[in-house]
Symmetry: C2
Subunit: 311 residues, 2 copies
């Protein structure tokens, strides 16, 4: 029995945030269906931001409830505040992910509140979740700019650990530590992730890496060494960063699966199926820049396709 490692596809959310094309809901859902067929069930499918802010997510309700109806799919959605969380709660999704920035300056720029105010907002989101009737919705809590910030520069590791502990104590079901701008290196990742895991105890931790400066998969390896077993990734490496035009985006899903499988972990994913799906997604997004090595180079002759796990 190989140890499991989880890959959450965030392409339909993080990947579509900066592209030129508004992708029709039907294609977003075809993407989700394709992911499930390729063995990746956890998908962050949309963001509950005001459509005026990001028109791409004007169909958030339709995509989220459509994804929830796909057999085997476990969709999550991103929410920036209580109002977004309430829209998401109404749909009875399995998981809702909230995000705040460890960097005060980045949080102010992103949601016009201090990090402390955003923490208070998470307490209100937990309370709103707990007051709901019906099945319990898991709450993920993301810490953006955990490895540095394009506005403030370095971010204190002690502060990231403290925020993680507070989010866990407030009731987060998962802590997602994010290198939003691609500043992290493997030494920093190993150190910070060990400290976070030691501090928050049993709450599961995921990492969200961008490959902006080429260290995305080295950072995954370092996080694995620290004990992390869940990673956000984006098909075809979609994602980008508004502060680094032309740079690569999220770590690429196919490459992340390849790395994890090569290191002996069971992701449940079929890389050939992911490459085929990637081709479709690329054709739906003309003029975008895609990344990812396995889709170009092919799998090595030594790669053993893992036995597929039943959904």
């Amino acid at each position: 029995m190989r140890e499991k490692a989880h890959v959450r596809e965030v392409g339909p959310r993080d990947g579509l945030q900066l592209v030129k094309t508004i992708m029709p809901s039907a294609r977003k859902l075809a993407w989700c269906r394709g992911m499930v067929e390729a063995g990746i069930n956890e998908i962050e499918v949309t963001s509950f931001v005001p459509p005026k802010v990001i028109p791409q997510f004007a169909d958030a309700e339709e995509v989220a409830s459509g994804a929830a109806a796909i057999t085997g799919c476990r969709p999550s959605v991103l929410v920036p505040n209580l109002r977004g969380a309430e829209r998401a709660f109404a749909l009875d999704l399995a998981q809702v992910n909230y995000v705040l920035s460890a960097s005060e300056e980045h949080n102010l720029a992103n949601v016009r509140r201090s990090t402390e105010e955003s923490l208070q907002d998470f307490a209100r989101i937990v309370a709103a979740r707990d007051q709901r009737a019906g099945a319990r919705i898991a709450l993920g809590a993301g810490i953006a700019t955990a490895f540095g910030c394009t506005i403030s520069g370095s971010v204190s590791e002690a502060q990231v650990v403290e925020i993680a502990v507070r989010l866990a104590e407030m009731g987060a079901d998962e802590i997602i530590v994010a290198d939003t701008v691609g500043y992290g290196d493997p030494g920093q990742v190993r150190r910070l992730m060990k400290a976070v895991i030691a501090a928050i105890g049993r709450v599961p931790v995921a990492c969200h890496f961008h490959d902006t400066r080429g260290l995305g998969l080295a950072n995954v390896t370092a996080a694995l060494e620290a004990g992390v077993r869940a990673f956000d990734a984006s098909l075809a490496g979609l994602g980008g960063c508004p502060f680094a035009p032309g740079a690569t985006g999220n770590i690429d899903t196919e490459d992340t699966v390849f790395l994890l499988e090569q290191l002996g972990f069971d992701t449940g994913a079929d890389i050939e199926a992911l490459i085929a799906l990637r081709g479709a997604v690329e054709s739906w997004l003309p003029g975008e820049r895609f990344s990812g090595a396995i889709a170009r180079a092919g799998l090595p002759k030594t790669y053993r396709a893992p036995a597929r796990v039943a959904v």
Copy 2:
């Protein structure tokens, strides 16, 4: 005092092997001068193969002796056999690198000899070196396909260790373990490099990684953990692999320096100067595919340019 890590530029050799343009000798030497000015003194400048095999290296003598005349430059050259070594020895270079393949099938395809015959050839090269008058020339010995082979598939780790030990015992001054086709993963790299270092004792070990499948810098990180402190890399990620068309080539020099510096090592290199030089090299090679993240994304705000070491 930070610990030193060595980056050897192999672009003028490995990087130019597959490009469409025959680069004039003067530009190859301008590239070498630029590397030295940017703080990278060790450069594999050419290959002593027959010009009929690779016309790019018809000017091998001119480039090698031109590079040796650059103040501060420590050029090495690649030789595939005794005849190539004798041409190189005539130039009084600081280092000559020989290469054989751990994969029997790859060695037969590459130099039409068994791996054992190539090992015997190295003994003859060492003898020829030792019989020379004049300053001692260092001999590097490269083990290609050490992490797998596109022809034979997997390559036995025990066999790579045995070859490394024999090369070291024969008189190699440096062992260069090469992932020629980009099959290695960080787990394998850490394991094999620990075993090689433990087996060969005091002979320095370098790694030569290709980024074919996106794991190049993760593999550098793993090799560092195993104790490796020297890496081959290529400006703009030039290199390619004839078995993976469109795939990225050698690990990118600028990105490798960035990773090493972020991890606290002193490379002596100036990344901004490398990026400027890369721009010139790109302009000399129309129609080629380049890779590398730092040149696109820029250095993070948190990067501290290390104090330049005097050449």
